[in-house]
């Protein structure tokens, strides 16, 4: 292929699209966070996300979220086709605001946990997970 001005522009546009695509995936997760917080500021700290560094099988990845004093927790997988994973609401008889579950991950990505505290504030944390075999079929 001759390197003409038109080709150079096409390559440039392709490279631009490639860099912007992952940002869109994160945008879906950001939208999910905004829907949960109602646009409020999200702080850091006070929430712990326990997950494996490397998950061999993306079909069942054990994760645990611990957020003392939280009333509800949202778990998101930014790189999944649908980022929402689960929402947990803690009742009056919940002894500790923590929950463990097993989730599906389509590929290596960051998982995000956002907690709503009893005073109405929000905190979040994120963990990267490397996935060897994705768990979304297809």
């Amino acid at each position: 292929m001759e390197l003409t001005r038109r080709n150079a522009l096409a390559i440039g546009a392709g490279a631009f699209a490639a860099t912007i695509l992952p940002i869109q995936a994160f945008a879906a997760a950001d939208e999910a966070i905004a829907a949960f917080t109602g646009g409020a500021d999200v702080g850091e700290g006070g929430i712990t996300l326990t997950s494996p560094e490397i998950a061999e099988n993306g079909n069942t990845v054990p994760v645990a979220v611990d957020a003392p004093g939280a009333v509800s927790i949202v778990l998101l997988a930014a790189g999944n086709p649908d980022p929402a994973v689960a929402t947990a609401n803690f009742g009056p008889l919940s002894a500790a605001q923590k929950v463990s579950m097993r989730i599906r991950l389509a590929g290596s990505q960051d998982i995000v946990a956002v907690a709503k505290m009893a005073d109405g504030s929000f905190v979040k944390t994120a963990n990267p997970i490397k996935v060897t075999i994705g768990g979304c079929g297809g």
């Binding site: 069942t60 689960a86 919940s94």
Partner: protein, 109 residues
């Protein structure tokens, strides 16, 4: 999916009043995400359990809304306070309207 769904729950038989106990729940369910395709390339329709609740004597312990990103055979582990003797009630709500229930009594130690 109304066949082969079997809830399994692990709750201590007894606990001291006001103490915290750990509960583990597992329910067998294929949790079809709605994104997989069968051998002919047709999408397999979504069929998951979308909500799980745990209650003790009618008071809520935890409620979890599930999305297709939850694994097959959804498993949960959480802590509950036991103020008195009574019964835990666990409920799973399926997309197709089925409701699966399990109950576990607990005595005071």
């Amino acid at each position: 999916m109304a066949s082969g769904v079997k809830p399994r729950v692990k709750v201590p038989k007894s606990a001291a009043a006001g103490s915290a106990i750990t509960i583990k729940t597992l329910i067998s369910h294929k949790m079809e995400s709605g994104r997989r395709k069968d051998a002919d390339g047709n999408l397999i329709p979504r069929s998951i359990i979308n909500r799980f609740t745990a209650e003790f004597n009618g008071q809520s312990v935890i409620e979890v809304m599930m999305e297709p990103s939850i694994s097959t055979n959804p498993f949960f582990e959480f802590d509950a306070t036991v103020p008195e003797a009574g019964e835990f009630k666990f409920t799973w709500y399926d997309d197709d309207g089925d409701v699966y229930e399990a109950t576990k009594p607990i005595a005071m130690a």
